[in-house]
């Protein structure tokens, strides 16, 4: 049995290059997807003319591109730090990247060449019934593209699982269960190992669920009699989507666990509270997905009730474990701020703040009047743009400055950070306000009564895009110079 010591090892040079390349790719994709998002806001503001069919293609690309980029960046972060504790194969990582890139080509082709505009949620049977707007081939390209990306992730997680089990003996040990439940006095695995183990379990399940509905949907395109109950399809899709997007945050937060200690001089401990929080999250993230199905009352009542109650419970580990610990570690730590640490801490604020409107919308009686309004993009942009993506950028900048705290936080970086914060908060606030006034989500054209606040949202979105461009440029220039 391998020992569970947590002395980190140095990542190999080829692995370090692979991750830097990935973060460059992810940063560019994120920036491009933000431009698409801005285009949507500008169209709804009547400041840019975007034909509805193109709007919905842009919307589809923005959604799938953001989810994909978040997954890519998160996976790179997880893989980078997990390398410190277990044996991982660089060849497998490049295979993951290759699958990802092939998938992206197919998805982009299906969307912008084939005209597929089924949204990233590809809700069955919409891809097969576009009302004549796109051909089955476009949907098929999109589906196969997603399947490719999924296979890439599965391969990466399999390798991670092999590495973890080789070192720790079992997934249960890697989760710290002997320490949590059996009173073991041996040191628990590092936070990175615990979080990675949770991710590889839940995301394997989510990707398999996604693959099932993708394959059925693909066949259904050409053989309509080969179908699936629409409610079961919806369950599979939302289980896949919910878990997948949540794991992008779980993978990213590993960067916080690993990097903040370098600034505070205080190690991030996998104590019992930490282990309990992550074991709870393992179960909660899987069981909470029915909160996407509150307007389908044909669902079993117990699942809808479970969806509401667990939405509230799922907030507890974020608040009481990760956020609380971060604030304790930061308090009187003597930290000297730089762009990397500022973004990492912003990311935790964005995550925990973003779950507030999410959890409130996870109340059935609230959901009745807010589901599928812009309240929904409001809350997920909060914990993605200001949460996960802020952490990803923080990690990138930390890589670019030599994997250590910078000497200073120069004015141009402060401007970029403030722009990101203000642009992001404004974007989120206008979405949430729009949800309050019942503006539906996913509408290419808004009613005149809604346009003024759309325009305000566009201004904030533009600020966020500019700030992001500054941060991405900062990363690319410094990484290129460091080579």
């Amino acid at each position: 049995m391998a020992d569970a010591a947590t002395i980190p090892r140095k990542i190999s040079p080829s692995a370090a290059v692979a991750v830097r390349l990935t973060m460059a790719l992810a940063a560019l994709v994120l920036l491009l997807m933000m431009v698409l998002g801005l285009a949507m806001r500008l169209a709804q503001s009547n400041w840019v003319d975007l034909a509805p069919d193109l709007f919905y293609q842009v919307m589809t690309a923005h959604g799938v591109g953001m989810v994909g980029a978040a997954g890519l960046a998160g996976a790179a972060i997880m893989w980078f730090f997990l390398n410190r504790y277990v044996e991982l194969r660089v060849g497998v990582y490049y295979l993951f990247l290759a699958f990802f890139l092939v998938g992206v080509m197919l998805i982009l082709g299906g969307t912008f060449l084939g005209g597929f505009a089924g949204a990233w949620t590809f809700l069955f049977p919409l891809p097969a019934m576009s009302g004549g707007v796109w051909n089955p081939g476009a949907s098929l390209a999109f589906f196969i593209g997603l399947l490719c990306v999924g296979v890439g992730f599965l391969v990466l997680y399999l390798d991670a699982g092999l590495g973890i089990v080789s070192r720790y003996g079992s997934l249960a040990r890697a989760l710290g269960w002997p320490q949590l439940f059996a009173g073991s006095q041996q040191e628990a695995p590092s936070p990175t190992v615990v979080a990675s183990t949770v991710v590889l379990i839940v995301n394997t399940l989510s990707i398999v669920a996604g693959a099932i509905i993708l394959v059925i949907s693909s066949v259904n395109l050409y053989v309509p009699a080969f179908g699936i109950d629409a409610l079961l399809a919806k369950n599979l899709i939302y289980f896949f989507g919910h878990v997948f997007i949540n794991t992008t945050i779980y993978m990213a937060v590993i960067a916080v666990y690993e990097i903040i200690p370098a600034y505070t001089g205080r190690a991030w401990k996998s104590n019992k509270v930490f282990l309990a929080g992550w074991t709870a999250t393992l179960l909660l993230v899987l069981a909470v997905y029915p909160h996407h199905l509150f307007q389908d009352m044909v669902m079993p009542a117990w699942m809808l009730v479970m969806g509401q109650i667990l939405s509230y419970v799922a907030g507890i580990p974020v608040i009481v474990v990760t956020t609380y610990a971060l604030l304790v570690y930061l308090h009187r730590s003597g930290i000297r701020w730089d762009l990397a640490s500022a973004l990492l801490v912003l990311g935790i604020f964005g995550w925990v703040a973003g779950i507030i409107p999410a959890i409130i919308d996870g109340t059935i009686s609230v959901n009745k009047v807010m589901h599928n309004t812009l309240w929904v993009p409001g809350h997920f942009h909060f914990y993605l743009l200001l949460g996960m993506v802020a952490i990803a950028f923080g990690f990138s900048i930390w890589l670019a400055q030599g994997e250590k705290p910078a000497q200073s936080f120069v004015p141009v970086q402060k401007i970029a950070f403030l722009g990101y914060l203000i642009g992001g908060l404004g974007l989120v606030a206008t979405f949430l306000y729009a949800g309050m006034i019942s503006v539906p989500r996913r509408w290419a054209v808004h009613l005149p009564e809604w346009v003024a606040q759309d325009q305000l949202g566009s201004i904030f979105a533009a600020v966020a895009v500019l700030a992001t461009a500054m941060i991405v440029l900062n990363y690319l220039v410094r990484v290129a110079r460091a080579k």
Binding site: L123, A230, Q295, M297, L330, H331, R332, H371, N372, R441
Partner: protein, 171 residues
């Protein structure tokens, strides 16, 4: 409902921001020598506060089953059948009585749609998913006469944003 939700969100997010700022203000300061207070002392009270609030809200919002006809209704609700299709609504009847409980039995002939009822001020009153192969029911009692708008709330393709209909509510 929507206003209350917005205000609660604003208050809680602001409170959280204040907590963060209070800690961040003291982040760069050195540790106090000889400080003995356990930094984890707020964790358990915070946890129990969240649990108590969670139980309270869960009970308060579920004790009256949110999918039911509601407490103040008497008699059989009037049924309105709704079928969503790409990209239009078939609603029968479209002239409805004010003050009487109504149940909308909603389905779809093709893809998922979202049946959303908006009042004359464009505020959402209720909604339900329109699914192929299923009938989803939503109960509503109109308290005011007027012209109400039906919009689609589940993305269904090119005509999603123009898939609308009108309801007239009168005495």
């Amino acid at each position: 409902m929507q206003d209350a939700v917005g205000i609660i969100t604003l208050v809680l997010v602001t409170l959280l921001a204040i907590v963060f700022l209070m800690v961040l203000r003291r982040a760069s300061a050195p540790a106090v020598a000889g400080a003995t207070a356990d930094p984890g002392r707020f964790r358990a009270p915070l946890f129990w506060l969240l649990v108590v609030v969670g139980i309270g809200v869960s009970y308060g919002t579920l004790v009256e089953w949110p999918y039911g006809p509601g407490p103040a209704t008497s008699g059989e609700p009037m049924t309105v059948t709704v079928t969503g299709s790409i990209w239009s609504w078939e609603i029968n009847p479209t002239k409805l009585p004010v003050g009487k409980p109504i149940v909308f039995a909603v389905t779809s002939s093709d893809v998922n749609h979202g049946f959303g009822i908006y009042d004359p001020d464009l505020k959402m009153l209720t909604q339900v998913q329109a699914m192929p192969g299923y009938i989803n029911k939503v109960y509503y009692t109109f308290s005011k006469a007027g012209n109400y708008k039906i919009v689609c709330l589940e993305y269904c393709g090119l005509g999603h944003h123009v898939m609308a209909a009108d309801l007239t509510v009168g005495p």
